[in-house]
Structure formats: C-alpha cells, structure tokens
Amino acid sequence: MARLSRDEIRSIVIDCVSEIAPEADFDALKPERPWREQLEIDSFDFQNLLAAIETRAGVTVPEMDYAKLALFDEMLDYLEARQAA
C-alpha cells in the first residue's frame, strides 16, 4: 500500500468514526481533551474503529498502544508514523 499523507489519514479516520458515530462534529473537537470522551466512543466502538482503520489504511494498532491514541492529533501522529514500520 502506498504511503498515506497526513490529510489522507485524517480523512480515513474521520470517515471511519462517522460510520460509527454519524453525529460526530470534528470541528467542535477540543484538541487538548481526549477525543473519545467528546465523541462518546466506548471500548467496543473503539475496537471496531481500529478494525476499520486497519482495513482502510493498512495500519494495525496493538492493544498495548491504545494509551498513545488519547488525543486526536496523537492518534493521527501514531498512525502516520506506524505505517512506515
């Protein structure tokens, strides 16, 4: 899979989150606060989200790294860096 730009990753993540939480408003997201609480993504939603991102972006997130995805930008950073690995 070709390397994805940050904008492409962002748009994939937004697509996948919207599929789970259609009412999610990314413009209202406060970047300094955990994004999952703001969008009400529980652990089950989160796991489905990671599976969808895996399919679309080809990036697998191991469970031990879940804590690194607390802020929305952190998640994008993580996915961007991880696809190189």
Binding site: A21, E23, D42, S43, F44, Q47, A51, V61, M64
Partner: protein, 408 residues
C-alpha cells in the same frame, strides 16, 4: 389452536406497535424461530415463537398498537387438524371496531409498498443493513426504491444515500414527520425508563456494597490472550467482568432471579442483562444469554453481536424478557464508581467503574496498579449484606486471578 400473543418485554412495557410478519399462513414454525418484528420503547424487537406448529392466521397488521398479551396470530399446534380457515385468513383487512387504529405517525417502514399490495409477506422481507434502515428513516427515503449493491442483495447505507440524492427534493414535508417519529421514540423510551426506575426506588429497599479490585494481572492476561487475535476479535475487559459475575452467581444464586408478589424466584439459567447506552440518549439492558457457559471467544462474539443489534434496534424478545440480573459497566470512559438502581423484578445490579491507575498497598508494599471499583446494589427483601458481600468478594477474587475464570 394456540394464540401467539404480544410478549411482555420488561415490567415497563404496556404495548407494542406491530411492524411486519416474517412468516405467512401455512408456514411451519419452530420453537425459537423469529416470526415477526414489533416496535417497542426499546426499539424494534424480533419476536420469537415458543410453540412448534403451522401458522393458521395472521391477525396483527403493520402499524397496529397491540397490548401485552393481545393475540397477533393463530397457530395450529403440531398434530392439530387445520380448522376451517375462511373466517380469518381470507379476510385481508379486519375492520372490527376493536382493532386499534394504525398510529398517526407514518414511518418509512410502515409505508413500505408491500403493505396492501401483498398484505402477508413471507420470504420477501426487505434485505437492508441496520445503518441503511436508520438512514432511510432519517432521510425519509423509501428503502424499497433503492437499488441494492450489498452482499445477498442487501441495501446498504450508500444505496440509501444514492436513492436520497436521486429523489426530488419536494418531499420536504415528510422530513419533520420522520424526525418527530425518532423524537417520539426517544421520549417513549425516557418514559419507560422513568416508570421502571420510579417503581424500583419506590418498592425495592436497596442496599449497596463496593470493593476495589487490582486488575493489572487480568489486563495483562487479557493482552496476552488478544495478542494473537485480529483487531476486530480482541476480547474486551467487559467479557472478563461478565464471566466473573456469572461464576460468582453460581455460588450465590440468591442474587440471580426475580422478586414478584412477595416471593423470590431463583433463575435456572444465567442470562445477564448488559446495560447499553444508546447514541442520542436512552438505555437498554438486553440479556447475554447463558453467560456462565460460554468460552471466552464465543462470549466476546455474543457480546459484540448483542451490542451491534441493540444499537441497530434489532433485539430478540427472549433477550428482553428473561434477564435475571443486570451489569452496568461504565467502561473506559466516565467515572470510577456507580451505585445502581435495580431493574424490577430483578433483585441485584452489579456495577463496574472505569479502570484507573491507583496506589495500592499489599503485603507491606506500596505500588501503582490499575484498579476497577465493583459495586453491588441488591434487594434487601431477598438478601442481606452478608450474602451480597460474599458475592462481591467472589467477583473480586475471580478478577484478581484471571487464570481461574475459564478453568472448568
């Protein structure tokens, strides 16, 4: 002849609105088969039948409000000779004064063209994904007009959106109606929760217990289990909590059952209600059936299926009528402790707060670990604190030693 009636799906349910039949007269039905869909305050519910037989006549029609216990169909029990059928089956639309009027609010579902043209549909159930069905309702699109591209000819979300884009925009008046419909359903659910919880607070003398559990070993055990699994199949910590509750109930059965008319009736099976918050508000607690008998991965599959169907509004009647205890899990979002309100006529509710890192002292050592607070709200008419404490201590013990959870 046996009557197939509107089931009671919880102490708070008075009636349901009939949506569609999945069988036709003359069809053979088996115990446990889903035969129709009914709209309730908890969403659309797939109703199972509990007798083997042959459908003689379908009485309920789409849009009709039917009280709990109201007859929806006549079933010829196995071995029974078919009665003269002209009476009911030949008459397509009974317009007796006793038959309730269809509800005023039309929805995309009840407006499906199959009604009227072909009053009794059998295998012609519209294949549509739950997300697409909801989207169609929200957009006021008739899903039967969408061309299906999904697997097995199912209509997908994208199909509905394409149909919505093609549709002329002059259909605007239908939109507020659909919105009112969703709003009405939400408010009906609010009323149902209010009624059940008020009854609980009024009649059940609750007592509350709580304990903190060091779950670092359980989380490490789970991570090891999950390391070989695909992302979508990873087992959630909630599965371990539900398993611990199920096993502890075997030792303390006095918390698993119902208190009705002054008598406690112990449940034979372990169908644990899982409190599930709905997007946009509301709460449903359908049963994870036989929670004490499922291996770990099967339990995760069952839980995932239950969560998915609850949110899609596709529960089965047996998941709402035989729940014998409820577990509420505030998960990894939210707060540390919960003191629950028992769902009558159940006699206990177990709560788990979020996992947090805490200082923990053990054997003279102080260290940081990940903890969860477990609580029990129980009915004092049935048990005393000592029994509740025994149960909660057992839950804590099982969760502290994860290797014991599935050793039998």
């Amino acid at each position: 002849m046996s009557d197939f009636t509107m089931p009671s799906l919880g102490a708070d349910m008075e009636d349901g609105t009939f949506v569609e039949w999945l069988v036709a007269p003359g069809d053979t039905v088996k115990r446990g088969q889903v035969v129709c869909v009914v709209e309730t305050q908890k969403g659309a519910v797939e109703v199972e039948i509990w007798t083997d037989g042959v459908v003689d006549a379908l009485i309920a029609e789409p849009g009709h409000k039917i009280p709990v216990g109201g007859v929806m169909a006549k079933i010829l029990v196995k071995g029974e000779a078919p009665a003269a059928r002209e009476g009911v089956a030949a008459k397509p639309a009974p317009e007796k004064p006793g038959v309730p009027e269809p509800e005023a609010r039309p929805s995309a579902r009840t407006a499906a063209p199959a009604k009227g043209v072909q009053p009794l549909r059998s295998a012609t159930r519209l294949r549509i994904t739950p997300a697409a069905r909801r989207r169609a309702e929200a957009l006021g699109v008739d899903p039967t007009k969408a061309s299906a591209t999904g697997g097995d000819g199912a209509i997908t979300l994208a199909d509905v959106e394409r149909a919505a884009a093609v549709r002329p925009t002059q259909q605007a008046p239908s939109k507020p109606t659909v919105k009112d419909d969703a709003e009405a359903r939400r408010s009906a659910m609010r009323d149902a929760i209010a009624a059940a919880m008020s009854l609980s607070n009024r009649e059940i003398p609750h007592y509350y217990l709580g304990t903190a559990i060091d779950v670092a070993p359980a989380l490490a055990w789970l991570e090891a289990h999950n390391s070989g699994l695909p992302t979508a199949g990873r087992v959630l910590f909630a599965v371990l909590q539900l398993r611990a509750v199920a096993l502890a109930l075997r030792e303390v059965p006095a918390l698993n059952g119902w208190y009705e008319n002054g008598v406690f009736r112990s449940a034979e099976a372990c169908h644990i209600g899982v409190a599930i918050a709905l997007r946009g508000g509301g709460l449903v607690a359908p049963a994870l059936r036989d929670a004490d008998r499922l291996p770990i991965d099967a339990m995760m599959t069952a839980l995932a299926d239950l969560l998915r169907r609850t949110r899609a509004g596709q529960l089965r009647s047996s998941e709402l009528s035989e729940t014998s205890i409820t577990v509420t899990n505030l998960g990894d979002l939210g707060v540390e402790t919960v003191q629950g309100v028992i769902y009558p006529p159940q006699v206990a509710l177990v709560g788990f707060g979020r996992i947090t890192e805490k200082p923990w002292a053990e054997n003279g050592r102080l260290f940081a670990t990940r903890c969860v607070h477990a609580s029990l709200a129980a009915d004092h008419r049935v048990t005393d604190g000592a029994i509740g404490a025994r149960f909660l201590a057992r839950v804590a013990d099982l969760l502290s030693r994860p290797e014991t959870l599935w050793q039998d």
